[in-house]
Symmetry: D2
Subunit: 426 residues, 4 copies
């Protein structure tokens, strides 16, 4: 961990410029009647979970180019998240991936969490790889497998994930199912769906009553003909059958080309079934790039729906779990995560600028130009001073990446963990 | 109408070759234990409705190149459908489009239907264009419109469609909603959905208890940012709210790139919510080409699901309404429709060849290669002799397009209706 | 035309707020060493041509909802463009579409152009529709037609376009070819290409030596299996065969899903073959929406290439012709055009902020995060005060749409031209 | 290797059925004046190279499920290809991947090649992964790298590939460049292109005068913002700069959604620049599935272009190198390859059925329906008896997969090579 004095020292020479820009932004938004302090408070409160698997260098099936200093244990992963949270004050929780992150010493881990003021956001099951010593293979599926033994094994693994999560205070199980088929005829669509529904029901039964099950969807990869849960409609139908604790998880990279994701977000909010979000950036498919790096306007429009839903009493469940789910093939993973969080906060801040009463008026009058311009005005406003102010008020760095580099953190990590360290699970 | 002797004369010189190919196909399939006569009977029984709007030359927003002889009235449209049905015995019904096809003299129309042994398949409402004298405009929506007057007008129009249909013995209302938005901010996603749901409920209420409402979905066009009903999940959720008479309609051209449509078909069958089908061909979007012209394997895989569902008692509703919904920019519309029906029958025939018990065994054993090869074997088999035999047994032409050309029907139609006749509605 | 005093009066109450924001922006950018006055000068100088066909309400193949007051003649189209140019000072030229815009009285038109300080940007040929009395039909192609008579007719039409253009001082012929096929087998790919190349050569020969031929490409629509010129590679190969006066035209809506358009722009600049640009916005295909409405970041990245090319001596031809090519189904066409121009100017202004020497350093060092952040910093900066200052310095309105509405211009046009006036050509 | 008697024994009980189907097919096609023996001869002569890397179980970035018995050395890879070639007589060559397949003992390898009657088809360089001890990293590119040392290393590696190939009698170097960028700003498009062109020129210079350099393109993956060679236009432009020995390689999985690949094939044939083909199957992206498994009609249309080009004297270079390039995540790799070859031969056989003179007549007359039906007729004809006859005449199995299973070859390989053997390179 960084000494807070270091951050203080880092911020000092940047304060003048920050105040210059912040003052202007406050004036600008104040002239429109916006409560800037309230926006900053909301930004301070906003938290995005960091997935344990995004702390090391990712890769594609074609290769991997690690840069060293990757966390070699769950404890080191927590250290990395703690560091990020020190820098930006917006990542106070971690998503675990079982079996990669099975805690060895729960009590010690709990203590570390407390010391670093972190929580466990959710546990993620893994039935897309075979683990050593595992009796049944997932080559042809897990919760949807034709053989009961494989299904049962996958069910028990998910329940085990819940147990690990309970020990650490988590309340969410995220199920991403890689099940599907690569060729026509391989899988019977209707039967595979029903087997999946039945398996999920068994897991749901075993879940504590204050837990949420998030059901992710994805149209393709690792299967390239069909996925058992390819779209929001399938996730939603499964949730309906399971009960109110089952919710849909939207991953930004899990859609066919040209999908209007923000509309899906609105749809699920309307149904009270939007449970969680996996942020990343994509241009072609599940590219797992930095959030907001490719389609910043789309990211804003998604937050526009989220904020709209959160402010609408008719929306029965607007408590969405936010998590990054990206891979870092090119950039330093920690820098990439700092960028992603910054882009997310920026999109959120812009969505908070929208005058929803006025927007409703324009929409009612079908004044398309004015309605669009209202959103564009929010999008085009430079809200970075507000995000930086939030960093500052959280005790973080005005420029998290700058501080990360100035402190030569990667170099330190390489010294501590080695040039060839590999993040567990990757 | 063609004198049946003419078809007889046309077929005579083709019979030798037909018998040569049919005999072989019977032997080939018989060796595998298939009941060829049963397959032919099913092909004879299979009927695809013809949409009234597909009988004239279509066009794109860039232009239209009519070829003449287009039907100038509903009566002439029935004549064209009757002719098609004479030629292939597979199109004994027509889908009406209101207001383009409002019958002037119901009794006369009923008589014509009887004489031509045709029925009215469904009525299709139109709220994507403004009609003269119409008080409210649909420029900004119809069933989802922000203004109650526009919604009410659209509701009444749909109810009026039902009334027209009742008078003619139809039992199906097809709702394709062009509502949506071209720009972010234009429409409030959640409110537009709810207004649509409420409007549909009002129509549903007014529908006789033996009618079915088919709810179509489409991701884009004529709106290019969002459509109120963009995907099967939205259609399905609306059907759930309305009741069991509401069913989803799948149009082959209404999907985002790379969508696995056959899986959606299986999904909806599983839910007992697949009510209808609009056949056409597409490579890019809603291209409205000849069915089967672009992705014949996909068409086969869709029929594979349909046949699988029809033979499975667990599927509670497999009574799917089949209709062509295409546009004919390049080809003679009647030739295009004959081709489409032939391609549909071919895909159906191939799906009937699949040994489902054996397929289930391969699937259970995860023998991917054998399961796939089983489907491919059906797909690669040349079933055209079976389709032609079905034509023959229905009193049609062994080669419908050949007969159409030999009889110089287009030339006759041009003489009767003129070179510049325009199909009503286009 | 608006009296300039009206614009002055309109601007007066907005000046305080404008100066507040402009001063800040100048300070902000000045601190980074940017010459804000130079940027504003470049914005003032930047001009985007308005296409004559975008001044009326467009539509889709499903319908059209005109709003009235559309220009009924070429003269009225010039009036509309003159009005736009008064409001934003950035649209001092018009693209003509032949035969929709064949001038009746050339001398009078020249005088009108002079009075309104407008020029003719380019002439666009039309071989995608049949005109009355035209001997050969373009149903099956024009420059690529299998029949020589049709090809010759299309060649002569293009040459005639050049002649009309010469009379009015234009120097550019834009060729968008709708030729292609809807079905496999319809067209012989290699022969169709060669016929097209030969036809273009005949037109090229007839073009004055100071003219440029722009060759547009489009992957689909109005043909849905193949287009003769579907991609930049085909346009480029044709240009290579024709000569240096032939250049590629990029239309933002003419690409397959997920295409990296900015890279194509860079590629063509590298080859000295980027001749022109058609701006519009799209989410799915050739949606023809307001420029920048859907993918503002992409628009910025495209301008980043354009500015980069313009500043690089190695780029032999960076004189790109800019034109809007959109359709207005929902919005008032004139408001849509004002928005488009504003979004274009904003993207251009942001691209001018990029420190290219520093970017080159980051790229050389493969400092991916810093290189990306440099671009993002420019993109996230609010440049609207600079664009407004450019409007102001050009004698236009600080808020062109606001002025347009305040002056009730649409209402005036409806009074003058009628509620049912239809723009010629639509 | 299988004793040929084994194949003879395997075929014997299948001969009756084969002759029944073959006789019919000969009659059917003979009635149309087709020379069936000539078609079979062409099928016998047709050869598709097998890539060394497709002999083991592939995988995705999410996991890998090997089935055992994979070849542990180049020698074992040759054994596998020899076996395939025994079974289908259509795969008499192998593509090497350097450094995975650097031969240790060239003389021994030459002898093995001779004994198995195999040749080396091409050598493929690898600059998308870092090899141990390699001084410069390819993390940020190879031939396009900003640093000369990395470029030089990649150039030398390619030249080394040529040297290895020369020793083994190969004549083709395939260059697939993974270079590109994941984020806007990371790479300067124009400079990266020029560096690539210069690097390729250095390799081209070092290539013997009877060699061909194949330049592959791919729009995305492993880079997800831009690839240096994303499309055929870029490959083509590089070939033009290099010289006539440089040719474009088309990989079926390397295109954006909805691309008309057969048209690209025709285009490159027209330019005399189609040098090679990588066959695989895809629904979404570079899915690397069994060739023909997803879009069999597209595969036929591609062969339609290839056959058309091969028969046209105007096409100056129709000597296309055919290779499979797939990955086998689900199926036994050898079965998958047998399927792929069968699908390729089937598509080729169908393309040989097309009456090109008649097609030209229909095209000249713009008889769209007849032209399309001519192609469809070929596609719908069941040509499997011809493919099987070709197997038979080559001394292979009438049912290669059946023989592979009957001989329990995978089980043998597992016994010989072990359950956990991993194919080198994967």
């Amino acid at each position: 961990m960084l000494a807070s004095q270091r951050l203080h020292d880092f911020n000092r020479p940047l304060q003048d410029d920050h105040q210059f820009r912040l003052t202007y932004t406050q004036d600008l938004l104040g002239r429109r009647g916006l409560d800037v302090q309230d926006i900053v408070r909301r930004l301070v409160a906003f938290q995005v979970a960091i997935p344990s698997w995004a702390l090391g260098t990712g890769g594609t099936r074609f290769g991997r180019f690690p840069l060293g200093g990757e966390p070699r244990s769950l404890e080191e992963k927590l250290e990395d998240v703690g560091l990020l949270n020190q820098l930006n004050g917006s990542s106070n929780s971690i998503s675990l991936h079982i079996p990669w992150d099975i805690p060895q010493d729960v009590a010690a881990l709990q203590q570390q969490l407390q010391e670093q003021r972190l929580t466990i956001d959710s546990v993620n099951s893994n039935t897309f790889q075979d683990q050593k010593e595992q009796p049944a293979s997932y080559k042809f599926g897990s919760l949807s497998h034709t053989e009961q033994a494989a299904r049962e094994q996958a069910i028990q693994h998910n329940i085990e994930c819940v147990r690990h999560g309970e020990a650490l205070g988590a309340k969410t199980l995220t199920v991403w199912l890689a099940d599907g088929s690569n060729f026509p005829g391989q899988q019977h669509f209707r039967h595979a769906y029903q087997r999946t529904a039945d398996s999920l029901a068994a897991i749901y039964e075993a879940m504590p009553s204050d837990w949420t099950m998030l059901i992710e969807y994805k149209p393709y990869e690792p299967n390239f003909y069909s996925m058992v849960i390819p779209d929001w409609g399938t996730s939603y139908s499964l949730c309906q059958q399971l009960g109110q604790q089952a919710q849909v998880l939207v991953d930004l990279g899990h859609h066919l080309p040209n999908t209007n994701i923000e509309q899906i977000v609105g749809r699920l909010l309307h149904f009270g079934r939007l449970g969680g979000f996996h942020f990343n950036g994509s241009m072609y498919g599940d590219d797992d790039l930095t959030t907001g790096s490719m389609k910043p306007f789309q990211l804003f429009l998604i937050f526009n729906e989220l904020v709209d839903g959160a402010r609408d009493e008719a929306v029965t469940n607007a408590a969405v779990a936010y998590m990054i789910d990206a891979s870092h093939n090119t950039k330093d993973p920690l820098e990439d995560l700092l960028q992603s969080v910054e882009n997310i906060l920026g999109a959120y801040a812009k969505a908070l600028l929208v005058d929803r009463a006025l927007l409703a008026d324009y929409q009612a009058a079908n004044d398309v130009v004015r309605a669009e311009e209202l959103l564009r005005d929010a999008f085009l406003t430079d809200v970075r001073p507000l995000v930086q102010e939030a960093y500052c008020q959280s005790g973080g760095a005005l420029d998290p990446i700058g501080a990360y580099r100035a402190e030569r953190i990667r170099e330190q990590l390489i010294r501590q963990r080695g040039k060839l360290s590999l993040s567990t699970g990757l």
